[in-house]
Assembly symmetry: C2
Homo-oligomer: 319 residues x 2
């Protein structure tokens, strides 16, 4: 959570005058995301999120992220929608930062995850992937295998301080993944960070998909593997088969997995566990000053990795 950049009332009023959205009735910094500053804004017309992009979000990537969101929203998915100003621009400058006014979405994040939630998530993920089939821009995944190698190097010196043998475990796993990760599965635009925090439910219905700032072009089934890691383990980091079954089955209902994707799922899950193990380890060693969210425990993802290492066939996820 963070509000790094303060927006005063006069600056806000000037900013809103660029749009046809009315004037401010309420404006509160919110604890959402650790990368950017976010405000919940209520105007005389509607509610919005105002995001100011801080330095970790690259300026050149913003049109891509906003495009992803707009594309998904136009396809009928409950994605946040960038609002255009009177001259048709979505991306703005505010207090010297890139900024965007985004539609507000109702709903709450789910902590007590049930298989029914995973079913809905599987459907939403498949529908996102399909909606993005005709989203043309390409963005490389900066946190793909090469990125993992860089992070493994950057974190190696201190990895064992956190957990004895971690450096060796990471090195061995990277060797294994180098030889086994599939390269020719169907690709497209992926969310790449669709954790429970980024999905808002109203009752049993998904009413909000947010935080597209890791979006990129990659293998679609890798996005599913990220969600299996994020949604299908309980608070003790124990795998919950009913959640995975519901998610995978429902994804498959809405976008049929190819036989190659099915076969690759255990390896992709190991890759996804590795990705979050490494980024959490990196963030743990390099905490962001000013962020209130305390760094998440990297070892939660070591446990997931160890689980996936035991899985030889995708059927084990869906029994």
């Amino acid at each position: 959570m963070a509000v790094y950049t303060k927006v005063d009332d006069k600056t806000l009023a000037d900013f809103l005058s660029r749009y046809d959205v009315g004037t401010a009735l309420s404006f509160k910094g919110i604890a959402e995301g650790i990368e950017n500053s976010n405000y919940l804004l209520e105007t005389t017309q509607d509610r919005f999120i105002l995001t100011l992009y801080e330095k970790r979000t690259k300026e050149e990537d913003l049109p891509y992220f906003l495009g992803m969101m707009a594309h998904a929203a136009r396809a009928g998915l409950p994605s946040a929608l960038p609002i255009h100003d009177k001259s048709g621009l979505a991306l703005q400058t505010l207090k010297g930062k890139n900024a965007c006014l985004i539609s507000f979405l109702s709903g709450v994040s789910v902590d007590d995850i049930q298989p029914g939630h995973c079913r809905k998530l599987g459907e939403a993920l498949a529908r996102l992937h399909k909606a993005w089939f005709d989203f043309k821009p390409i963005r490389a995944n900066e946190i793909g295998f090469e990125g993992w190698q860089h992070m493994a190097k950057a974190t190696a010196a201190c990895a064992d301080d956190l957990h004895a043998g971690l450096k060796y475990t990471i090195a061995c796993e990277l060797d294994y993944l180098a030889n086994t990760l599939p390269k020719n599965l169907p690709t497209g635009t992926i969310h790449a960070d669709l954790f429970p925090d980024n999905v808002l439910f109203t009752g049993d219905k998904i009413t909000g998909l947010i935080d597209f700032y890791f979006g990129c072009t990659d293998q679609l089934a890798y996005d599913l593997a990220i969600c299996i890691n994020a949604w299908c383990f309980d608070e003790h980091h124990t795998f919950v088969p009913a959640r995975a079954r519901a998610m995978i089955e429902e994804y498959d209902q809405h976008r049929t997995l190819t036989p190659e994707e099915r076969t690759a799922l255990p390896i992709l899950c190991r890759g996804a566990a590795m990705r979050f193990l490494l980024t959490r380890l990196y963030d743990y060693q390099n905490p962001v000053s000013g962020a209130v969210v305390s760094p998440k425990n990297p070892l939660d993802y070591l446990k997931r990795l160890e689980f996936h290492q035991q899985i030889k066939e995708t059927d084990h996820y869906v029994v």
Copy 2:
């Protein structure tokens, strides 16, 4: 700002079932206050603030603060109102913390302060004081003169690291105030922290008075002196006479200042400047872990103190 205590969706649903307020549609941690955790909650019925009181707010004081708020709201002031549960209780326990559901108030804090805002503030402050005439509970001001002496002692060793001569300036001022601070002015319940952050405007109208957690029993004119310090200096910490005149005149219109209060105003303003100089100096030396708000500059209040030291008569504030 802060969200120290995370409330998951199931805990929230259980909590809301104690009330007649509907079920959650949206729930976001907000960056308000540095003492407590605050959430903006929208239910099927209305919007609310959920506050979880962290350790710096003493449990035994909470009924007093909630009583102040309820009393002001019942008198027609736009104060946040504690919501009672089905059994009539306002103060609750949630995630092991004291907690309260409070009415949501529209409006935005003003940064570009105009004399008109100060006029409204003067009126609101006088109306608060009058509304609290029949609020019977008593709470000593913990940050009164004795509190200042303790903080002066606690900060003395490092004060000159921030500003050469600061320790001596503080000691001399405390000596002066010990002999000059009035003791027999009209007393009552005061807000004691009615900074621009704690006042929400919709257009020219005050639609929200919040954050009563420094409320106490003290001399009423001292509350006005706090507001003069908080509202009547520009961003360069230069006194703006038109703001003070508007505030003091309008206060006097709604609660007539006694001749003794008028005479004492310069001394009370010195005391109020001293209070915030000392608490800021203390917070600067003892930052709260986990708070995103960076400590405020104590020297802003040294400048105000130096200004008030030049003022010999209250008329100088209202020319």
